[in-house]
Amino acid sequence: MKRTFLQIGLLCIAGAVVGLGANALSPRAVVLGKPVLPQAEAQPGTCATGGAAPSAFAAVPRITVEQAKPLCVACTAGFVDARNEEEFAEGHITNAVHLPPGDVPPPVLAQLKGYGTVVVYDADPQGTMAEAVAMGLREMGVKDVRVLQGSWTEWLAKGAPGSSGPCPVCGPAEAKQ
């Protein structure tokens, strides 16, 4: 019995080492030491609703500003701004497409489908609007959609690339500016 416990301990230690190694080799490694919060925490009251939690929420993975910034700089991800027109005109992530909840113009959808990753953000650090837009995009066939953790506020605070101006066509023309 003592031997079995010893083997269990060794197995767990070996597992921990292998796990840390696998994480280091993973293309999307988790940052050790950086707290990971439940997605549903962005929806206050989810736990208190006793089964009435909307399934659409908490279903979209998050992406941090640190992870999204290089994608923006390298233009390898599409960015979607789910805020209102005025907020968008005041400033937005460089090359972001203005897309509030609702219908998605076909050219915008086609453009977003061309990206490996699409990042959606809004003005709310909890990303409520962004979640709704992200879910819509996923239902329309955009595969890897993520909500920006901390949203526009955190993006600005961390000095990530941004620009300003209106969105004349809410679509591809602006995204190529």
Binding site: Q7, L11, G15, G19, N23, P35, P61
Partner: protein, 152 residues
Amino acid sequence: MKGFVLAACRIVVGGLFLWAASTKVPDMAKFAEEVANYRLLPAALVPAVAAMVVGIEIVAGVLLVVGAWARPAAIVVSGMLGVFILGIAQALARGIDLKCGCFGGEEAASWLTVVRDLAILAPALAVAIGGPGRLALASRERPAGAEQRATT
């Protein structure tokens, strides 16, 4: 016959754990989010625990498939399955909507997931109790209670 049944249990459970780990390694960040959604751990511990879970799945899976240290591996796997079952059950009972995080993908956790995990737990417990069975690398592991009998 019993030896072959235990070997089948061991290889199937080990294979499932290896498969589960292989679906998580490409996107560890996403798996960590899924672990966080269970709301069982402090946020600061989630990344390390997520990495360790995947590592233990790999090590225990390999040991079960080859049949070395099969009993300890089966005990660890049974413990993990027990935690998964309790984790999913408590989340469903609290109305938390979350993804399973079991085999990658977008599978939502449901009571069916609990039933599936129970179905995997049964052969894992069989190996934990009965030993590795046939076709094991270390087939000389003593059956449960042998140590006690040997000392009396």
